[in-house]
C-alpha cells in the first residue's frame, strides 16, 4: 500500500470499524435473531436457543395486538404526515413573502419545537390535554364545546398524539420547503400573472411543480420518522386507553424489554424496517414516473 492509501484507511478505518461492529453486524444479527425463539431462558443460557425459521413472523400475524399496533401506526402516519406537511407548506408560504428580518424571527419561533426534548414537551402536552384543567379543553369550553377526555378516550387519544406530533415537527419541513420556495424563479410567477392566472392557479401550476422534488423528499423523511412513533405513547398514554395508542415500536419495546421475547421483538423490528423501505421505494417510483425526482 502506498503511504496515501495507508493514511486513508487510518483516517476512515476507525469510523468504518465502529459502524460495522455496532450498526451493520447488529442489522444482520437482528434478522438472525428474528428466526430464533430467543427469550428469557436464552438470555440466561444461550444453549436454550432454538432456530424456529419464520415461526415468529407467523406467530405475529396471529397476534391481534400486533395487528392493532400496525393499524394504530398506519393511522398515525396516514393522518399525521399529510397534516404535518400541509402545515409546513402553509407556514413556509406565510414566511416566503416576508422581509429577511421578519422571516428570520418567525422562522426561529416556528422552528423552536423541533429542537426541544420530545419527552419533556410530551409532558407539557399531557397537561395541556388534561380533561379537567387542561388549557385545550378550557379553550374549547369558551367556544361552547364540551370537554373531551383527550388521552382517556380510545377515539381521541391517537388524534391528540397526532396533534402533538404535528406541533413538534412541522417546523423542520417548513425550513426545507421555504428554501425550496426561494429557488422558484420569480419570472415564472410573472409569466403566470400575465397569462391571467389567479393566486390559486399560480400555486397549483407554478409553486407545487417547483416544490415537487422537495415535497417528495420531505414526505419520505417524515413518513420514515412517523413510523418510529414511540416516546409519545410511552409518556402520554402508555399505549392506552384500550391499546388505542400501542405503536409498532411500543409493541417491540414491550415484547423485547418487558417480556424479554427478543426473537419476536426482532421480527417486529424487521417488519417495520421492510414497511418503511417498501413505502420509500413506492413513493420514489411514483414520483419519478411523474418526473419529480
Amino acid at each position: 500500500m502506498t503511504r496515501r492509501a495507508q493514511t486513508g484507511w487510518a483516517f476512515a478505518g476507525p469510523a468504518l470499524a465502529m459502524l460495522t461492529i455496532f450498526f451493520f453486524v447488529p442489522v444482520l444479527l437482528a434478522f438472525l435473531l428474528s428466526l430464533t425463539d430467543f427469550d428469557l431462558y436464552a438470555l440466561a443460557d444461550f444453549s436454550d436457543l432454538r432456530f424456529v425459521g419464520f415461526g415468529n413472523y407467523s406467530e405475529l400475524f396471529n397476534t391481534p395486538l400486533f395487528w392493532k399496533a400496525l393499524s394504530n401506526t398506519f393511522y398515525f402516519v396516514i393522518v399525521g404526515v399529510p397534516l404535518s406537511i400541509g402545515l409546513s407548506l402553509g407556514a413556509a408560504l406565510l414566511l416566503h413573502g416576508l422581509t429577511a428580518k421578519l422571516a428570520g424571527f418567525f422562522r426561529t419561533a416556528l422552528f423552536a419545537p423541533v429542537v426541544t426534548t420530545l419527552v419533556a414537551v410530551a409532558v407539557i402536552w399531557r397537561y395541556l390535554l388534561h380533561t379537567r384543567y387542561g388549557m385545550i379543553n378550557y379553550g374549547l369550553e369558551s367556544l361552547g364545546i364540551d370537554p373531551v377526555d383527550w388521552l382517556g378516550d380510545p377515539d381521541w387519544a391517537m388524534p391528540a398524539i397526532i396533534f402533538f406530533a404535528v406541533w413538534k415537527n412541522f417546523g423542520y419541513n417548513m425550513v426545507i420547503l421555504l428554501a425550496g420556495l426561494q429557488t422558484i424563479p420569480s419570472d415564472l410567477y410573472e409569466a403566470a400573472r400575465i397569462d391571467g392566472a389567479n393566486r390559486w392557479q399560480q400555486f397549483r401550476h407554478v409553486t407545487l411543480p417547483g416544490l415537487a422534488p422537495m415535497l417528495l423528499l420531505v414526505s419520505i423523511l417524515t413518513m420514515a420518522g412517523y413510523f418510529q412513533l414511540f416516546a409519545e405513547p410511552y409518556v402520554m398514554t402508555q399505549g392506552g386507553p384500550v391499546e388505542s395508542t400501542v405503536s409498532v415500536l411500543y409493541f417491540m419495546y414491550e415484547q423485547g424489554f418487558k417480556w424479554w421475547n427478543l426473537g419476536v421483538a426482532s421480527a417486529v423490528a424487521f417488519i417495520l424496517f421492510l414497511i418503511i423501505f417498501a413505502l420509500t421505494l413506492i413513493q420514489y417510483h411514483f414520483a419519478s414516473k411523474r418526473g419529480a425526482a
Binding site: 486513508g8 419561533a109 419533556a120
Partner: protein, 274 residues
C-alpha cells in the same frame, strides 16, 4: 409583490396564529413552572402565576435528584459529541480527500444504509453489550453515537471544497498526514465541525429510547429517561413537572438559538442526502 392592505392583514394574522401555536406550550410551561404548588391544578387554568416563585424548582432539586440526571445528560452529550467529532471528521475527510482502495464503493454502500431505522439494531446491540458488560453504563449509551453515516456524509461534502493544492504544498514541505489534518484541514472545517457538534449534542441530549433500554439503574438515568419516570410518579404535580421540563428543554433551546446558522446548514445538507 403587490398586495392589498387587507391581504397583508390576513397574512400577519395567520402568522401570529401559527407562531402562537408553536410558542404557547413552551411559554406556558415556563409560566406554570413559576407557580405555587397546586396553583396549576384548577379550572380555569391560570395563564400566569399569581406570585411568581421558584418553589417548584426547589422541590425539584430537593426531592427528585434532578441534579444528578442533569449532570449525567451533560456528561453523556459532551462525551458523545467529542467521540462523534473524532470519528466522523477523520472519516469524512478521508472519503473526500484521501485515496484508498475501495473508497468510492464503500461510500456508495454507506448511503442507502441511511434508510435502516436505528431501532432494528437495538435488540442485538443490547445482547452484544450485555456480553461485554456495558449494560447500565454510559459507554453503552455512547456506542451507537460514535460513528454515524450522517456525520461522515456531512463532513465529506464540506471537505470536498478544501483545495488540493493546499494539501499538496504541505506534503511537498514534508508535513506528516496527521499534521496536515490537524493544522490545515481542521481549521478549514470549523463551520461543519460546529454543525456536527451541535447535531450530535442535541441528538444525544434529546434521545430517549436507547438510554431507556440500556440504563437500568436510576442513578445513571439521563434527563429524558428521568423525566418520563418522574411524570409517572408525579402525575398531579404539574408545577414540578413543568420545572423539570424547563430544565431539560432550556439548554438545547439556548444552544440552538446561539448556533442557529450552523444548525440550519446541517438541516439543509441532511435533507439533500436522499
Amino acid at each position: 409583490m403587490r398586495s392589498s392592505r387587507r391581504a397583508r392583514f390576513v397574512h400577519f394574522l395567520l402568522l401570529a396564529v401559527v407562531a402562537a401555536f408553536a410558542l404557547f406550550p413552551l411559554l406556558w410551561m415556563l409560566s406554570v413552572s413559576l407557580m405555587a404548588p397546586g396553583e396549576a391544578s384548577q379550572f380555569p387554568p391560570p395563564m400566569l402565576p399569581d406570585k411568581p416563585g421558584l418553589s417548584a424548582y426547589s422541590s425539584l432539586f430537593e426531592t427528585t435528584g434532578i441534579t444528578r440526571y442533569f449532570l449525567n445528560s451533560l456528561l453523556i452529550a459532551t462525551l458523545g459529541t467529542a467521540l462523534s467529532l473524532a470519528f466522523n471528521t477523520t472519516a469524512g475527510y478521508a472519503f473526500a480527500k484521501l485515496r484508498f482502495t475501495g473508497r468510492d464503493r464503500i461510500f456508495q454502500l454507506l448511503l442507502p444504509a441511511l434508510v435502516i431505522p436505528a431501532q432494528v439494531t437495538m435488540l442485538p446491540l443490547f445482547l452484544m453489550l450485555k456480553e461485554i458488560g456495558l449494560i447500565n453504563s454510559f459507554a453503552g449509551v455512547l456506542v451507537p453515537v460514535t460513528a454515524s453515516i450522517f456525520g461522515i456524509f456531512l463532513v465529506r461534502q464540506y471537505a470536498l471544497s478544501v483545495p488540493n493544492e493546499l494539501l499538496e504544498a504541505a506534503r511537498i514541505d514534508g508535513a506528516s498526514e496527521w499534521r496536515i489534518f490537524l493544522q490545515i484541514v481542521l481549521p478549514t472545517l470549523t463551520p461543519i465541525i460546529i454543525t456536527l457538534a451541535l447535531f450530535t449534542f442535541l441528538g444525544v441530549w434529546n434521545d430517549f429510547m436507547w438510554p431507556l433500554i440500556i440504563l437500568t439503574d436510576q442513578e445513571k438515568y439521563t434527563l429524558p429517561v428521568a423525566i418520563a419516570a418522574l411524570s409517572r410518579e408525579h402525575v398531579q404535580d404539574n408545577e414540578l413537572m413543568m420545572a423539570g421540563s424547563v430544565l431539560t428543554v432550556l439548554p438545547v433551546l439556548l444552544l440552538f438559538l446561539v448556533l442557529q446558522r450552523y444548525y440550519m446548514h446541517g438541516l439543509m445538507a441532511g435533507s439533500v442526502k436522499g
